[in-house]
């Protein structure tokens, strides 16, 4: 685990806001030279604190008006069916994320669709056909916020 100082934390916030900012721009914001800023950026990536970059796209304008969180319970447990389920569910293009969880459900899926009838198609023809799938609970997202998290 790496320790971050105040400047690292501000830099991290800036990169979460916009990872394409050049080191010179970030350096000006933080009062650092370009090489010093570049070294700090590299350290954040190399140490794994930043695990990658993600495009933040306007889903509505790209025709994806509906996002649903699906809680999925497996009907039959056992190692083989879990592997099969995970492989099959990850291959569905409309399934954006798959998380294994403990509690009421076994998996949480984030599913995008063009509209509710498109979602119904994905649910019936793709999700319900998965090997080992049992109970499914759907919650349609009305709003979503990603918070900066505890980086000071």
């Amino acid at each position: 685990m790496i320790e971050l100082d105040t400047i690292d934390r501000r830099l991290l916030r800036e990169l979460v806001h916009d990872a394409t900012q050049p080191a010179s721009t970030l350096g000006r914001k933080l009062g650092l030279s370009q090489p010093a800023t570049w070294r700090r950026i590299r350290r954040l990536y190399d140490s794994g604190v930043i695990k990658g970059q993600r495009l933040d796209l306007d889903h509505d304008r790209l025709g994806f008006g509906v996002t649903v969180f699906l809680g999925v319970k497996l009907a039959t447990k056992g190692r083989v069916s879990i592997d099969d389920f995970e492989r099959a569910v990850s291959a569905i293009p409309e399934v954006q994320t798959v998380e294994h969880i403990l509690g009421l459900y076994d998996y949480r899926l984030r599913v995008v669709a063009r509209d509710i009838s498109d979602f119904e198609r994905v649910l019936r023809r793709r999700i319900m056909m998965l090997p080992g799938v049992g109970d499914v609970e759907a919650n349609v997202i009305l709003s979503e916020e990603r918070r900066p998290g505890p980086i000071g």
Partner: protein, 151 residues
């Protein structure tokens, strides 16, 4: 509106948002100048909102992630707004979604370990206003995380 070239660029860009424009252009089969112009236009029109760094909280010592599903007291008309405003003040809350469904909303909460989570739950979460019911789902593993739109 987007045409096939825009969609092709976005498809490749989503799979690796850190790649240089030259690589992206090659993957999408367009010239770097075209690619840069298209990207600028999609940023300008707000279709690309941002290209964000993704933090690995485990690398910063946050080993525990819990999904809290919350039902609110509906008798209070300002329950949603007041709950959301208070939840935003908790730094360990990294995601907030509101739903149409069985639960009203969900918080994603990170903690250093189970002891830290228990402390957060008691001091910061249970004190949030207008909670009628709350249930926690412990995060075990991420199987797929790319959040790619099937364009």
């Amino acid at each position: 509106m987007l045409d096939d070239i825009d969609r092709r660029i976005l498809r490749h860009y989503q799979h690796d948002a850190a790649q240089p424009v030259a690589d992206l252009a090659e993957a999408a089969g367009v010239t770097p100048a075209t690619c840069a112009r298209r990207l600028d236009r999609m940023k300008g029109s707000g279709i690309i909102r941002a290209n964000r760094a993704v933090i690995d909280w485990r690398a910063l010592g946050y080993e525990v992630e819990v999904s809290l599903r919350v039902t609110l007291e509906k008798s209070e008309p300002r329950a949603f707004d007041e709950f959301l405003a208070a939840a935003r003040e908790v730094p360990e809350v990294v995601e907030i979604q509101t739903f149409l469904g069985r639960v009203d909303l969900r918080l994603s909460v990170i903690a250093r370990d189970m002891g830290h989570y228990q402390e957060l739950y008691r001091t910061a979460i249970l004190s949030l206003p207008h909670i009628a019911d709350i249930e926690g789902l412990m995060h075990v593993a991420r199987i797929k995380t790319d959040e790619i739109l099937p364009l």
